[in-house]
Symmetry: C2
Subunit: 302 residues, 2 copies
């Protein structure tokens, strides 16, 4: 069966997967070929009727790009196997710095061999926030940038806690202290309440949490705390040329899984226009992310 | 004489030219080869000692990129002649929309022939603001964006008024009304006060002013009103996928000529990494504008 536009698979149908499905459906230049989700209990509300749900991406036929809506720790292995098939991948891997760079290098080597593109860290942070930080730095090469998150649920931090043995459910809230400093408020449902101190220690020593003040509270039910609203504030004061006191501020307030899914879909569009290789969003011309041609974008946005 | 890094010429030594000189001097990867400024009365404070000042860019020897610090109406003709020499140009042409697109097309044709790159509209608006608007649109394909400028002196509008016959000096202030609506407050020194009504009519019918409420006041001296502080506020509320109420806001408060010069210098760096052709900033990977390699940028900014 031939479908029009960019052929998209969504890999993983949690909150972000649902957001990505919505974003594909509202894009004029792509088609949702299917969803890869071995856990059928995940496949509930919001799935468009008639969408194939499969256990393995190989069951979907021709795919241009796979949007990896998986927790960060699962991204590397799963994306590699997709890239090896010559299918491009988009992920929202959310560990900044050396780990992301190492993953990108691994992807790049495969892409050069198979002709695929990998866009990594393509959510809102890392992702669109990274682009904002880069532009602010281009404007003021000397100065200080701070990124402050929240208040909101961190999906990455929550997934990290959920994956711990003995944790039935969890929620990690990011509370902004200001100027790039945060407090993490973790709420856990435990299989066995006696594990409380052990879990607390494990969480506080996890790379996701060890650099922030972290509180861990055991609760009966995390559900009443769930709100996917999140946000960030990026601020820079710096020097343009030799002129001080240049000030830039960017604030985003979003529904986290929806925006993450949307940014990954925009990155999938961009991937199709890049040479084989692995990229982060700061390495991609912003216009490539838009559902319009360059001349229209220049007329309307520049 | 061989100089290290990207060889830069600054064409025009007004306020923006001074800003561009400062930005080149504080960049580790480029050298200021010289300044093109036929009007020696412009060459005053801030010029680094020993910098050649010439009437014609051909007198400077090998140049990689020329930063065109000229009023917008002079850009097309001057940049074309530089591009014809195979030297890349960067400009901050500030008329949005069809006019900018037409200019870019003209440049593109020359670049393909001569191997040069032209980056047009490379200030802060058009320029870095255009990138912000593009990223916000990628995040929320449906919604509304507003850009509100000021309060501050508009260099483009001021230059347009200064160029009118009978105007000795002028200043055009942009006053934000809100949500993308502005008032223009123009102050003019006239050769002959009797021309007041005629000048007022000419200004109000100029394409720069005809879409905004514009006041024109005749003053003895505009100097006491000169402050190069300026700014913009870009706001978007839109839909990510099918999820409404996503909100983004960007605010910049800057010294206009310094930031304009700095952005053009960052664009000159990016130009060296692009294929021959003409571009706006939304068509350039943001990382190309930075004075660091991609791996370092990914580690630090993504």
């Amino acid at each position: 069966m031939s479908v029009p536009g960019i052929k998209i698979a969504i890999v993983g149908y949690g909150n972000v997967g649902r957001g990505a499905v919505d974003a594909v459906q509202t894009s004029s230049d792509m088609t949702l070929v299917g969803v890869v989700e071995p856990d059928r209990s995940q496949v509930q509300a919001g799935m468009p009727e008639g969408t194939p749900v499969v256990d393995d991406i190989r069951q979907l036929g021709t795919i241009d790009a796979a949007i990896m809506c998986l927790r960060s720790r699962m991204v590397y292995e799963h994306a590699r196997s997709v890239l090896e098939m010559g299918v491009s991948t988009i992920d929202c891997f959310d560990v900044h710095g050396a780990e992301l760079l190492a993953m990108k290098r691994g992807f790049h080597e495969i892409c050069l061999r198979t002709g695929a593109r990998a866009i990594t860290g393509a959510g809102w942070d890392p992702g669109t926030d990274s682009v904002i930080r880069s532009i602010m730095l281009a404007m003021t090469p000397r100065g200080l940038t701070s990124t402050t998150f929240g208040p909101g649920i961190s999906m990455g931090h929550t997934a990290a806690v959920k994956s711990l043995p003995g944790v039935r459910d969890a929620l990690s809230l990011t509370i902004p202290v200001g100027s790039g400093v945060h407090r993490r408020q973790v709420y856990v449902e435990l299989e066995d309440r006696a594990q409380e101190e052990e879990i607390r220690t494990v969480i506080r020593n996890d790379p996701y949490f060890m650099n922030d003040e972290t509180t861990v509270d055991v609760v009966e039910d995390v559900t009443p705390l769930v709100d996917h609203g999140h946000g960030a504030r990026i601020e820079r004061v710096g020097v343009a040329g030799k002129t001080h006191n240049q000030h830039m501020r960017y604030v985003v307030r979003c529904t986290n899984p929806a925006l993450t899914g949307q940014v990954m879909v925009a990155a999938a569009r961009a991937a199709m226009k890049m040479a084989p290789g692995a990229y982060t969003l700061i390495e991609i011309p912003p216009v490539f992310m838009l559902d319009m041609d360059t001349d229209e974008a220049v007329s309307r946005l520049v």
